[in-house]
């Protein structure tokens, strides 16, 4: 942890009026750079790693920004991972990736109305209420959505931002479960998270995650 750059400067150096609102750098204008790295292009998901909702600063401990390959490898290595997807999964591009992850053998919890898009995709998907799910994940007694045992790694995407953020705060503080966010927006309450991403970068990042998963 270098903690070199604070999440946001209090006021820019050239500030003259305290009550002037900070002029932020536009997200859209800072596309994730694709860096040439040996042969292949790498999507950088660690930029803009600040809570997407401005006020959503939980405290001194916030998610480490993570690259897609690292998340993918962790998912691949996990003994019993769970992917939670929410009501924003109906988007075709996102849905495709989620299905791929399901096809790679990751169990899916469809929260909100995500099941509507996922139910007929032939993956191991279960409806769950996100709030209840967060509660169950904090319970070492819980045997999972299929009764076959608890999860050691949780990853999620596509849930209403603040809703996911709040639910994950339960896991952060009251569970032993590791949480990686592969959502489009930075989630401070996860252990690791992507930064705030443009749609195309997000999709590309998901593809990189999928690349790390075992092919089935």
């Amino acid at each position: 942890m270098s903690g070199k750059v604070p999440i946001k400067p209090a006021r820019p150096a050239d500030k003259t009026a305290a009550k002037t609102v900070e002029k932020p750098k536009p997200i859209e204008k800072s596309p994730a750079k694709t860096t040439e790295k040996t042969e292949e292009k790498v999507i950088d998901t660690t930029r803009q790693a600040v809570p997407f909702n401005t006020g959503n600063i939980p405290g001194p401990e916030m998610a480490r920004a993570v690259m897609p390959a690292v998340s993918g490898k962790m998912l691949a290595k996990a003994k019993r991972p769970l992917l939670i997807v929410g009501s924003e999964v109906h988007d075709k591009d996102v849905l495709e990736r989620v299905v791929s992850m399901g096809q790679a053998g990751i169990q899916i919890a469809a929260v909100g109305d995500a099941y509507v898009s996922l139910g007929d995709k032939g993956v191991d998907v279960h409806y769950a209420n996100m709030h209840a799910l967060a509660s169950y994940l904090c319970d070492p007694q819980w045997q999972g959505l299929d009764g076959k045992g608890g999860y050691d790694l949780v990853t999620f995407l596509g849930i209403t931002y603040y809703y996911a953020s709040q639910a994950i705060s339960a896991l952060k503080n009251f569970s032993k479960v590791k949480v990686i966010s592969i959502d489009r927006y930075y989630h401070p309450n996860a252990n690791m998270s992507f930064g705030n991403l443009k749609k195309d970068v997000f999709i590309a990042a998901l593809d990189e995650v999928i690349n790390q998963l075992p092919k089935k």
Partner: protein, 791 residues
């Protein structure tokens, strides 16, 4: 000799003044029927623990730190302890208690303000009249163990509430309670006090101000941002307390000004204005406050208390709209003009010398407002003052947008504002029109924009077309549900043949606009649920029309009977919704009420298929109401923003032994289906909410017909909106008789696939269900209510 309350001196005993506080008539003494009249923190702790042992408090902190005291800030991340020894779990529970206290204080202080004021005006002996009810004040009777006859009888009730709230507030101080469970028990206590405070407030205003008394066919009031004739002077009352607006309405009535001045309300004051005088109109919920002020239409703003934006004076000042504050709770730093002559005040406001005035003499407010409106209205109209940009400006503003998304990041609903900006540049305002409905009007975006676009004004400007058409209808608040209605419907509710009572209450912080609850309510009405509403939710339900141009209120009648849509009234009228379940227990089932909270709540939890929905709950008050309902055994569902309350009560169906109840007939333990499954939970979308609501209406007491009806809706709603059979539908099947007739065979096949044994010849389930249907089963969670225990 007639003795009334007061004091007298007996001849020859001149130094003795006898104060008569209460006249006790024979046979009318309050008879305490239960063990806990006037419960203190400890009194219902056992009940709280019973429900908390099943419905687990789940914490979703908004902050991992605590800065209550000067040892802090303490970092509690990972449930660490702070300097005082509190950990994040207990701190989060403390926050829940704090939130519930604040909400309860709000309603109770509102009730106290009204009570002191109404006693001054009508006397302590003014009788309570709430309509056709013997059980006039169900919450008061259940909690206090007394039956109030006059408004003065509520004095000890509020004293009790205030004493208990002070005890609870003491508990949240640093160095007090240490256990999350006891914080929660205290929060439930606060929630119960909140229900009581609300009941007092609404009963006394109904009784003194002639508001509708359990009337099922109250008239319709107009609602919407488009209903007023903005050419006339416009008076807008903002808040929750009818005391001041009542005077204004009286003066306008007396002087025949309803044709000359438009008067309407924002937030719950609006409900109560229409209940007081059906000429009044409703602009809308709190979400409309900033929008309507920015429009420049109001010529005078009158504020009272609660859900009044903190920046109203600042915003109004810019638009030369004078603000008259009429309540100590919101004074905005305004000069106190209570003792000044009306004309002097009007002059200072019309001349712009002062931006507003604090006037606590409500009679004076009544006199002043129409005068002020008539004077300042024409001036303001002439100047055409509005905050909204004109077309040229609008075009300039939308083209300035850099799509940095900062407004989206600051928006509570993360609305895609820049997309709408882009579309507007291309001449398409439709995206803004959609935003207008979804936008809660908070104005945070204005502060976000790095290129200084006044975002909210732009949204409103772009939506002028839809705003002009924003004209709906709300059935004026009816007050309580009368005893005869309960008598008629109680049985259906307890047996399940009416699939459930759903209360749509609370505020407008909806995750996806106001229309969601309209859609849900329409669906549930078509399915014969009873829908009761109040407050901002009741307003928002009246905003949409079907193809024939009819609102839900016009399509569905307002009786407490299946498939009806009721509006009880303002926020404090929520008390009646909760109280309805007490009435069912009392009137239908003959349960004793006075001082008997636990037994009543136990009855409600196990037998009354009622659930609350606070889809847009934002305030501490909504949380207090929900928590009070929870203590009464009523489950509540909030929208996704509800997770920011930091605490829910969630059941764990997989822990089978937590779903044991007792059979009151013999004290035997029965393992039952998870019904209701949760006490307080959220959902992400309306699609998810609908089957959840159906499920939360299951009760162990359902008879087979009722269970089949409830199951039908649960399955159908899940299939319709979630594209699946619910995973747990079979959990609720006790025998083939519980299965909807139309689908019985099909469902039995599914059960067989799950491993259940079916005797296909007899068309009977022979193995599988958790328990059998037993029509005389008396489910209870309270050991002392079992026959064995009573011996």
């Amino acid at each position: 000799m007639i003795i009334k309350k007061g004091s007298f001196v007996i001849e020859g005993l001149d130094n003795v003044q006898i104060n008569i506080g209460k006249i006790v008539e024979p046979g009318q003494e309050s008879i305490i029927e239960g063990p806990t009249p006037r419960p203190e923190i400890i009194s219902l702790r056992n009940w709280d623990y019973r429900i908390l042992d099943r419905y687990h408090p789940v914490y979703t902190p908004t902050s991992d730190t605590c800065d209550y005291c000067t040892y802090g800030k303490c970092n509690l991340t990972g449930n660490k302890e702070g300097a005082c020894g509190i950990d994040l779990e207990s701190q989060s529970a403390r926050e829940a208690l704090k939130t519930a206290i604040m909400g309860a204080a709000c309603h109770s202080a509102h009730g106290r303000h009204l009570l002191n004021y109404l006693i001054r005006k009508y006397g302590e002996d003014h009788p309570i009249d709430v309509g056709p009810s013997n059980l006039k004040a169900p919450l008061t009777e259940t909690i206090m163990g007394l039956q109030p006859k006059t408004i003065g009888d509520f004095l000890p009730v509020l004293e009790y509430v205030e004493e208990q709230l002070t005890q609870l507030t003491a508990s949240i101080n640093t160095g007090q309670e240490g256990a999350a469970m006891d914080f929660e028990s205290k929060a439930l206590h606060a929630g119960m006090l909140d229900l009581l405070g609300m009941e007092v407030a609404d009963i006394i205003q109904i009784s003194c101000l002639n508001m509708p008394r359990a009337e099922e066919d109250t008239p319709m009031a107009e609602i919407g941002m488009g209903i007023l004739d903005s050419k006339k002077p416009v008076v807008i009352c903002v808040g929750h307390n009818i005391a001041a607006p009542a005077y204004i309405l009286d003066c306008m009535d007396r002087d025949g000004l309803f044709d000359k001045i438009e008067i309407a309300g924002l937030c719950c004051t609006a409900h109560d204005m229409t209940r007081y005088n059906k000429t009044a109109k409703i602009i809308g919920s709190m979400s409309k406050e900033l929008k309507y002020i920015r429009s420049g239409i109001p010529d005078v703003l009158v504020t009272d208390e609660q859900c009044v934006r903190a920046d109203i004076l600042k915003e109004a000042k810019k638009l030369f709209i004078p603000v008259i504050a009429t309540n100590e709770k919101i004074m905005y730093g305004l000069p106190d003009r209570s003792n000044d002559p009306v004309d002097a005040i009007v002059d200072d406001l019309v001349s712009g010398k002062q931006a507003g005035a604090l006037i606590l003499d409500l009679e004076k407010v009544g006199e002043l407002i129409p005068k002020l409106a008539m004077k300042i209205g024409p001036i303001r109209k002439a100047r055409g003052i509005t905050a909204l940009p004109d077309d040229v400006e609008f075009n300039k503003l939308v083209s300035k947008c850099t799509k940095c998304l900062q407004c989206t990041r600051d928006c509570p609903q993360s609305l895609p504002i820049s997309d709408a900006m882009a579309a507007a540049v291309a001449g398409d305002l439709s995206k803004f029109e959609i935003l207008h409905d979804k936008c809660v009007g908070c104005g945070r975006c204005d502060y976000s924009c790095p290129v200084d676009i006044p975002v909210l004004n732009v949204i409103e400007k772009a939506s002028q077309r839809v705003i002009r058409e924003e004209k709906g209808k709300v059935r004026i608040g009816r007050g309580q549900i009368g005893d005869p209605e309960i008598r008629e419907e109680g049985r259906n509710l307890v047996l399940g043949t009416t699939p459930g009572v759903l209360a749509f209450v609370g505020c407008g912080n909806y995750p996806d606009g106001t229309k969601d609850i309209y859609d849900v309510v329409e669906e549930m009405l078509q399915r014969s649920y009873i829908i009761i509403s109040s407050g901002c939710a009741a307003m928002d339900l009246g905003m949409y029309k079907d193809k024939e141009g009819k609102t839900l209120y016009e399509r569905y009648p307002g009786r407490f009977i299946k498939g009806n849509l009721l509006n009880t009234g303002s926020c404090v009228s929520n008390a009646h919704i909760a109280a309805t379940t007490i009435k069912v227990a009392s009137i239908f089932a003959g349960r004793k009420t006075k001082g008997n909270w636990e037994e009543i709540a136990d009855y409600v939890l196990n037998r009354v298929g009622a659930a609350g929905v606070a889809w847009g709950a934002y305030s501490q008050k909504a949380f207090a109401i929900a928590t009070g309902c929870n203590r009464l055994g009523i489950p509540v569902v909030a929208g996704p923003h509800g997770t920011k309350y930091r605490r829910a009560f969630i059941g764990k169906p997989y822990r089978k032994d937590e779903w044991n109840v007792l059979d009151a007939r013999d004290g035997s333990t029965i393992n039952v289906e998870p019904a209701p499954e949760h006490l307080m939970i959220t959902a992400e979308t309306k699609e998810e909410m609908m089957p959840l609501l159906a499920k939360l209406c299951f009760r162990p007491s359902d008879n087979s017909l009722g269970r089949a009806i409830k199951l039908t809706h649960y399955i159908e709603l899940s299939e319709k909106y979630m594209k699946k059979m619910p995973d747990d539908w079979h959990t609720y099947v006790r025998s083939e008789a519980d299965l909807p007739v139309a689908k019985r065979e099909q469902l039995m096949k599914l059960l067989e696939e799950k491993g259940w044994k079916i005797d296909w010849e007899k068309k009977k389930i022979t193995e599988g269900p958790l328990r059998k249907v037993d029509v005389s089963f008396q489910p209870t969670n309270v050991p002392r209510l079992c026959k064995e225990a009573k011996k």
